[in-house]
């Protein structure tokens, strides 16, 4: 049993599976974006080729930079992203790690991941890195609160702070449209879903909020001075974060892997349903990423604080009101 448990952590549905899934999802995002822009797009294994090539390259550090930080933070980002992937409900509503309040521990790890980018850019003694890291941390500060609020709203619907319990509740809610209040909940649900999708674009530094590594302007932003394996780890943690956030949104908003009792194939069907829901979220992300153009950092911060945050707050209050008076 012990060996099985260890295998679960390291192979399926643990670390190795998360890495494979994130490479595939990254390819899917790139391919979808390319097809929507009328291009052909990369071949299936391209993200893996990129990763392998970067691993084989040498490390080059700029003068007067803090080498220890440049060496440590990619490892930190990768391990944080890998830890986050252990919370994900993949073959059952319960992730490998599950405890009360793990939703907010997940968000805490996301915060660590985002703010570590600031130190990376700052310590690399490069003007592009410096300005990129400043932008990255501004966007990080702006999307974190709407994302947390929208997830808090969903946690309120399920009356739990545990990812597995929220997933179970949301998987069941589609079949039990009992009262009028529950149908009314669709309004704040869709509002919070859109808000969390937009905030996810900020977390992944995708297109409307990609000012942190604006390619034509500040080279690669906070990762300008990264080379070789360091860059590979940062890229891989970016891939992993795509998986983490899309699976989390699929779980919390769409119900993730439900529990159907179909005898022998229960786990397989659960896994399949999970995949379909995740792909839906990834498609939505790629779609928004493609149709939008990059905002300036002040525009994106303003948009998040002025419009996204009040909307998220309104959604949470709407949920509380419906629960109080609608009998949901």
């Amino acid at each position: 049993m012990m060996i099985l448990r260890i295998l679960e952590f390291f192979i399926f549905p643990g670390a190795l599976f998360a890495i494979v899934l994130s490479v595939i999802l990254m390819w899917l995002v790139r391919k979808l974006a390319a097809r929507m822009e009328n291009r052909v797009g990369p071949p299936f294994l391209q993200p893996l080729y990129d990763f392998a090539k970067l691993l084989a390259k040498e490390r080059v550090y700029p003068e007067k930079s803090m080498r220890l930080v440049l060496w440590l933070i990619p490892i930190l980002q990768f391990s944080v992203a890998l830890t986050m992937s252990l919370f994900l409900p993949i073959i059952s509503p319960e992730g490998l790690i599950s405890f009360d309040g793990d939703l907010f521990f997940f968000l805490f790890l996301l915060g660590i991941h985002g703010s570590s980018a600031f130190f990376l850019g700052w310590m690399s003694n490069n003007p592009y890195g410096g300005s990129g890291s400043g932008r990255a941390v501004l966007i990080e500060l702006s999307f974190e609160i709407p994302l947390s609020l929208s997830l808090a709203g969903i946690a309120n619907v399920a009356r739990s702070m545990r990812i597995s319990e929220i997933t179970l509740y949301m998987a069941g809610v589609f079949f039990t449209f009992g009262s009028f209040g529950k149908i009314l909940l669709i309004i704040p649900w869709s509002l919070l879903l859109i808000i969390s999708l937009i905030s996810t674009l900020g977390a992944l530094e995708y297109n409307p909020f990609s000012a942190g590594h604006a390619e034509t302007e500040i080279v690669a932003g906070w990762m300008t001075e990264l080379t070789g394996p360091d860059l590979a780890l940062v890229k891989m943690s970016e891939f992993l974060n795509l998986t983490n956030l899309s699976v989390l949104i699929a779980a919390l908003f769409l119900g993730g892997p439900p529990v159907y009792e179909i005898g022998l194939y229960t786990r397989f069907v659960t896994f399949l349903v999970f995949l379909v829901k995740t792909l839906l979220v990834v498609f939505a992300l790629a779609f928004i990423k493609t149709i939008s153009s990059r905002l300036r950092v002040d525009q994106s911060t303003e948009g998040m604080w002025k419009y996204l945050l009040p909307l998220a707050l309104g959604g949470v209050i709407l949920i509380l009101l419906i629960q109080q008076y609608g009998g949901a």
């Binding site: 979808l32 390319a34 097809r35 929507m36 009328n38 291009r39 052909v40 797009g41 779609f287 149709i291």
Partner: protein
């Protein structure tokens, strides 16, 4: 950017998703050029009367007509100098020079860019 522009962009993206990509796999396929594309100038030696109008009008001195024998002339079009302006085609009264839609002209040697053809002077009737 207003919301309608986002809607238009979204519709375009969805249409593109289900249509054939614009990308062309170059050495095997090529992008089709338009009818009046100005590519390499090609001489039709049968029509040429050696009036040398094209040699005079060529702004980059790409056309050179050299006398070899009594009736034999060498008509040299140097693609390395040619700027594909189409003046020679416009000035020719006998339809003997055309800018065709051939655009792959890369060579390893500059001398190979010279397109040489022989023109025989016609006797006056």
């Amino acid at each position: 950017m207003s919301i309608t522009k986002y809607l238009v962009a979204g519709k375009t993206a969805l249409v593109n998703l289900f249509s054939k990509p614009n990308t062309v796999l170059f050495p095997n396929e090529m992008v089709e050029t338009s009818e009046d594309y100005r590519g390499t100038p090609v001489l039709v030696p049968e029509n040429c009367t050696l009036c040398k109008k094209c040699e005079r009008i060529c702004p980059t001195l790409a056309i050179k007509i050299e006398k070899l024998g009594d009736v034999e002339h060498q008509f040299i079009i140097d693609l390395g100098r040619c700027c594909y302006c189409g003046e020679c085609e416009a000035v020719c009264n006998f339809d003997s020079i055309h800018l065709q839609n051939v655009w792959m002209t890369a060579e390893m040697d500059r001398e190979k860019l010279k397109r040489i053809s022989t023109v025989y002077k016609r006797r006056k009737k």
